[in-house]
Amino acid sequence: MATKKKILLIDDDRDFLMATKLILENGGYEVFMAEDGKTGLEMALSISPDLAIIDMMMETWSEGFNVISKLRSTEIGKSMPLIMLSAVDLQGPYQSFEPPDEMPSVDMVLNKPIEADKLLKYVAQLLKK
């Protein structure tokens, strides 16, 4: 039997973690959760997941960005597929939110909530690459 692919979820909302974990586990993945950026980064480096899903606004407005840029600077995180999540529509025209000058590179940006089938589809797509 093939081993399950590992997905790391980093979000400061425990309920959101649980809900998303249920969906991903149903899709046949092994799911790890971290409730803050620091723990998330440590877990990413220790378990080396096949993909990570990271919330943008955690303890601070830019915690997600910080985690992603730190992760990208490591050997393990350099080419790890990353999905950034946001409850604020970043592409929306009405946001006064200004992203940092240097946006760390992510493979996908998704808005919360995510429909279950879409999430599973996107995750599968990114894992195939």
Binding site: A19, S96, E115
Partner: protein, 365 residues
């Protein structure tokens, strides 16, 4: 905040070689990274290239004077702490240097311990200064993006509920009977309504705080309407309503804020789609003269009773629907009116019950 991992960079600018060497030795012994320069010119170059954490500057030097250097550095490198090295006789100039932005002064002659103490204190001051500035930046950022943060706080719990519903449907969907599924469906609809309400309320707040219409440009209304209908087309097709758009590409330009005007059209055309029964139609047409451009949006929907027409732009006023299926936020048209007002335009409505409603948006050319 800790800078212990990086070695602090210290620049010493003095025209006397023994002083430069003395400082370098004393500071390197404490683990600092020391650069030296023999005059103001060389010192300025080294400071610009190396961005030192701290710089010691002799006040009496040929060329660029120490005083000028402090002046330049405090402007160009605000995070660099400058300390002046001064002869006993020139305490007055040391005071002047402090006024210009130097942090401290070191009277000649000084011992290695003295320079180390001054350095340690200066670097601590630097850390505090940087930390204070970062906090201040964060505070300003929060103020500027306040509405976005409020929006995030309001949307997050709803997103969580929706995410739970998504997982519930996935895990247990096939075990639930029709009643249970319809309850879930109703929950989703009501959450959607609440999200819309929050969205519209935030839009109104943005208008009031002046952060909404920030970017007025020359605009082609045909573009705006095309963008707005892109969002609505799937819904109108699903409901079997035909959308007839008759706007010439060479329609006269108007001046306005693109994003908020798209939102206005999405609101008006979206409403028309909601209130028009399947098989009906919505037509969008244009009329202009040399002073204004009118866009009409007509539907073949239920119409709005005459006595209710005067109130439809008021916040939370809704032409009550018996079946309660057309629940909106109650703020959509209020938003449209405020945006049109902000553009110096007019929004007008006429309606006949059972026949349909026409909204006219008038823009000044």
């Amino acid at each position: 905040m800790s800078y212990t991992q990086d070695r602090h960079k210290i620049l010493v600018i003095d025209d006397e070689e023994p002083i430069r060497d003395g400082c370098k030795q004393a500071l390197e012994k404490s683990g600092y990274n020391v650069i030296t320069a023999k005059d103001g010119q060389e010192g300025l170059k080294a400071a610009r290239e190396n961005h030192p954490d701290m710089v010691f500057i002799d006040l009496k030097m040929p060329g660029i004077s120490g005083m000028d250097l402090i002046d330049i550095l405090s402007k160009e490198l605000p995070d660099t702490i400058s300390v002046v090295i001064t002869g006993f006789a020139s305490i007055v100039s040391a005071v002047e240097a402090l006024k210009k932005g130097a942090y401290d002064y070191l009277p000649k002659p000084f011992s290695p311990d003295q320079i180390r103490v001054v350095t340690k204190r200066g670097l601590e001051h630097r850390d505090l200064k940087i930390e204070a500035r970062k906090l201040n930046e964060e505070k300003k950022f929060m103020e500027k993006n306040f509405i976005t943060f409020v929006s995030h706080e309001m949307r997050s719990p709803l997103a969580v509920i929706q995410q739970y519903i998504e997982s519930l449907k996935l895990i247990a969907g096939d075990k639930l009977d029709e009643n249970a599924l319809s309850i879930i469906d109703r929950c989703e609809k009501r959450i959607q309504n609440l999200k819309e309400l929050i969205e519209h309320w935030l839009d109104l707040r943005r208008i009031e705080s002046g952060t909404f219409i920030t970017d007025k440009k020359n605009l082609n209304l045909a573009d705006i309407i095309r963008k707005a209908t892109e969002d609505i087309l799937p819904l109108s097709q699903k409901r079997g309503i035909s959308l007839k758009i008759n706007i010439p590409e060479n329609i006269p330009e108007i001046v306005g804020d693109k994003e908020s005007l798209i939102r206005v059209f999405v609101n008006i055309i979206g409403n028309a789609t909601k209130y028009t029964p399947s098989g009906g139609s919505i037509s969008i047409s244009e009329k202009h003269n040399d002073r204004y451009v009118d866009i009409s949006i007509s539907d073949t929907g239920a119409g709005i009773p005459k006595e209710k027409l005067p109130f439809i732009f008021d916040a939370f006023y809704r032409a009550k629907d018996k079946e309660d299926k057309h629940r909106g936020s109650g703020l959509g048209l209020t938003f449209c009116k405020r945006i049109m007002d902000a553009h110096g335009g007019i929004i007008d409505v006429s309606s006949e019950e059972g026949k349909g409603t026409t909204f006219v948006l008038r823009f000044i050319r």
